[in-house]
Point group: C2
Chain length 286, copies 2
């Protein structure tokens, strides 16, 4: 890392950030998933229409229709994923209807690198020649293929699929709850990431059946409802803002994590990894 | 990765492994931590005496004396660590006595690289110039400093410390439950790793106070007991064996994860990261 130390701790970098370096939640690209019946245990998910436009459009429709309301978390595999959807997908007469949503979509594993507003990380990664951030999302890319894709970091949300490449439609989603399983990259459509509330997905009991699915005797975690933020009354919307990854605060924050100024640290890694560089949120300033 | 594909899936590599590529648990270097009163929710921890001999010796003494029996998990911070020990450490008159264990130890952050039986990974890492495995443990090293250290991967167990470098004594331990926080490497003494039962530490409710500590109104998870395997009757010992990382099966397994032969995978990463290369266990063969 050639960049100089900021001389600041992570907390100091955040304290000094200008208001314009933060952005509000986008009502069209934010999901609120409530696991508690009283609005508690809320998971906030940001969607990535730039990377998976067809899946994101379908997910908006599904949320608008209340598709996930009353469905369930069906799989929690330790150090891997928490997955939710319709437990009756395989039983057509019991499966929840998709309404206006599409039952079938093309795979959206990657997008052209060219023209992407990628804020690059200078740090080597190992999994991909290029890494960085777009719209707050962790991105990997390969100039040889000219493709870029969302990287499977902690909290990333993807669309489960069967054997066929185009067998996902956004009804069944998963979030990464362990060490980044980057071997999934370019194998599946990623649709966004959890912005807040990961603990409500990551602390669930692990499933005892194959691949962490819950067995017949294990209670699934019900989903109370999933709403698109645009469908939520203004007064109920989370008062949250997100650090812009195209701001000057963002590279300063990364540098404060490469060269640690907190008293506790005796050694600085001089490095940051794509999946350790979590984008901060904070309560919205008045 | 220049190495050729094995042409086998991960499962096939394991099925074909010779019996001698597996090793039993070492009674002197294995801890059994029971979170359930009926022997359920058991966490099996392998100690790393080669990397932290003084801490491991102290931990053996503490376990032999039943130090942790009735103590508690005090901290669960999402995507970071679960930490346990004596909630009354700061209140000397209430703190559990250490018996024959040392209250103070030197820091054991790294060991000489020279002479270490390191099975190197050829894959680039970013955090350290060299990575690999010793005794089943993930290791990073730097030829410039001549030092090697245990890397903070998912499931690694370390000894909590305060500001002073030498303020850990092995009484307060933590396990990594999220994306590998490799920025901790070389800052703290790592004492081993969880071999089995990570889900019992990773699925616990997150603490609501600063840094994921449980607040006054949040119930801690009690620890029923922690025993050194050598102190456990033979009939109660887990019938488990561990793949040797100095075997021929181990590099074949890693290669099967770089070049995926399972039908589901459409793309192979051609790469593996130190912290994604989890060492398998299996029920002991007769």
């Amino acid at each position: 890392m050639a960049a100089p130390s900021t001389g600041l701790t992570v907390a100091q970098v955040l304290e000094r950030s200008p208001a314009g370096d933060w952005r509000p939640l986008d009502p069209q690209n934010t999901l609120l998933m409530d696991l508690g019946s009283d609005g508690s245990r809320q998971v906030i998910i940001e969607l990535a229409p730039r990377f998976a436009p067809r899946h994101v459009a379908n997910i908006r429709t599904l949320a608008h229709e209340g598709y996930w309301d009353g469905l369930a978390i069906m799989r929690v595999q330790d150090n891997y994923v928490t997955q939710w959807g319709d437990p009756n997908t395989e039983v057509p007469e019991k499966a929840k209807p998709l309404g206006k949503a599409s039952p079938k979509l093309p795979a959206e594993f990657s997008v052209p690198l060219k023209g992407l507003p990628l804020v690059r990380l200078p740090d080597a990664d190992g999994w991909a020649p290029i890494t960085g951030f777009v719209d707050g999302m962790p991105v990997a890319a390969d100039p040889k293929t000219g493709q870029a894709w969302l990287a499977h970091c902690y909290g990333i949300v993807g669309a489960g699929r069967d054997m066929a490449k185009d067998s996902s439609n956004g009804t069944e989603l998963y979030a990464v709850i362990g060490q980044s399983p980057r071997g999934l990259d370019l194998n599946i459509t990623v649709v966004g990431r959890v912005l807040q509330g990961m603990q409500h997905l990551a602390a669930l009991p692990r499933g005892g059946a194959d691949m962490g699915f819950y067995g017949p005797s294990e209670p699934r975690t019900p989903i109370q409802r999933v709403r698109l933020l645009a469908d939520v009354p203004e007064t109920e919307r989370p008062a949250l803002e997100v650090l812009r990854t195209d701001s000057t605060t963002w590279p300063a924050l990364l540098q404060a994590r490469r060269v640690r100024k907190e008293e506790w640290f005796l050694h600085s890694p001089q490095h940051i990894n794509l999946c350790n560089a979590t984008v901060p949120t904070r309560p919205r300033m008045k």
